[in-house]
Amino acid sequence: MSAKTLMRGTHVLGEAAIRSGCRAYFGYPITPQNELPEYMSSAFAKMPDAVFVQAESELASINMVIGASCTGARVMTSSSSPGVSLKQEGISYLAAMELPAVIVNMMRGGPGLGNIAPAQSDYFQATRGGGHGDYRVIVLAPAYGQEIADMTRQAFDLADKYRTPVMILGDGMMGQMMEPVIFPDPVDVNALPAKDWALTGAKDRPSRIIRSLWLDPPKEEELNWRLVRKYEVITEDITDQEIYLCDDAEIVIVAYGTAARIAKGAVHRVRSQGVKAGLYRPKTLWPFPSHELAAMSKDLHHILVFEMSAGQMVEDVRLSVEGRCPVSFYGRPGGVVSTPEEIAGVLNSLGANVVKKSA
């Protein structure tokens, strides 16, 4: 492990990627994540076995990711909301070709060009696939600097393990903020599990083919069902969440990433005022950690979903809870960041008005 150091989120992500064996980065600049490609370009300039390309567009960069991934390299691209929209075609191809890749989205206020302030309005895009076709992307949502480092390692490992694109979903604040972080030791790139599907030159062995075009519908259907089975395994294996002060809670707030930190601050405030509140923080957004939430919901008086959006994850919460308790939503879209005081106010008013379940 490294010594404890103070770094901004984008740099943490870059360093963690390199330590995870990432040796190829392709991207196109956009605020608020430019410090990530900056970090990769500066680090890769000193690494003869690594490649950095600032592509001519987001479309070009995601296609470069496809190419590098075909050869078996650990590869990453990054962008912010409008740029990630442009990458969606390529992400669909990655899913169809069953190629590992790590895609970073440091979300900003939208829709359209929006602004560069922190937001969470790309939840639907990230968790529903984002591009065309029946596919999913694993989505990890860090809330702390240390978690950016840990989840970056996890992202590369999951991408390789399941041969699927993995997205790290942060926001402008996660990217810009500096916090203390300790890095895991670097992996030995040559010791990573061999990829028996990678295109490495077919001398003395049969050709390998990686494709996403299946003109024969039954063949395409076969691919789709294979992906579905894979997604079922992923859902079974990797869902993760933080459950905080929920044991005696009557109201639970569900939030992820930056919003979850603010929510945790609010939980502390209202607890000191006598409201029994807890926090449920999904760390994987897809697959969504439904199970634990569903289990606790039957004993809760109310669930409040807080997002820096107009309300997206709230749908997954309602699907998980299935009416076992009331679910309401509070959100600030457009790049506005709520204060813990503001969310405490919402929790307090709910606390005063919830209909208590009889014991």
Partner: protein, 181 residues
């Protein structure tokens, strides 16, 4: 305990460096710290600011809606942040560039001619460390030793004379704060 501070000024005054050194020192005291710089469109036009939180507990939000302390290195910064300071909090003003006073009366002011103090010790560019020394002495957010070490670590690889100059400037600020209570 959780303390929030905003450092503000114009580009070149070392505003981000002040915050970074403070956060670094807090980290080395095993406290929870966050450092949030202004970025993008906000910084166009030459203003710079950053928010630092130093806390004994996990930090919820790195944004300070009502910071205990604000450092204003120039007049526009005082105008921008005077209404944000928590009631009873302290505003540190660079009196070389700010002759006015905030319009509210429920906050404490500490005025220091940091340009002059830095100039007098032959270290014009270290005005930020002079101000940080003042802040440290007045707020007790982090210890003197942690700050001196932080300067050394943050400036690692730079000339030894530069590191020492910044450390001296920090101590000059601390002395000024003690002498002008």
């Amino acid at each position: 305990m959780s303390l929030k501070i905003i450092f503000s000024g114009f580009g070149g005054q070392g505003v981000l460096m002040m915050g970074y050194v403070l956060a670094f020192a807090g980290m080395n005291e095993d406290k929870h710290v966050t450092f949030l710089p202004s970025y993008g469109a906000e910084v166009r036009g030459g203003t710079a600011n950053c928010t630092v939180v130093v806390s004994d507990e996990e930090i919820a939000s790195p944004i300070a809606s009502a910071p205990e302390f604000v450092v204003a290195m120039n007049y526009p910064s005082m105008i921008k942040y005077q209404n944000m300071v928590k009631s009873g909090g302290v505003m540190f003003l660079n009196s070389d560039l700010i002759s006015e006073e905030p319009s509210r009366g429920d906050i404490n002011l500490f005025r220091a001619p940091v340009n002059t103090l830095a100039h007098d010790m032959g270290a014009d560019r270290s005005l930020n460390m002079v101000m940080l020394g003042i802040v440290a002495a007045k707020t007790g957010m982090v210890s003197r030793e942690a700050l001196l070490l932080a300067i050394e670590k943050v400036l690692q690889g730079k000339k030894k004379s530069l590191i020492e100059m910044n450390q001296k400037a920090l101590e000059a600020g601390m002395n000024f704060a003690t002498e002008n209570n």
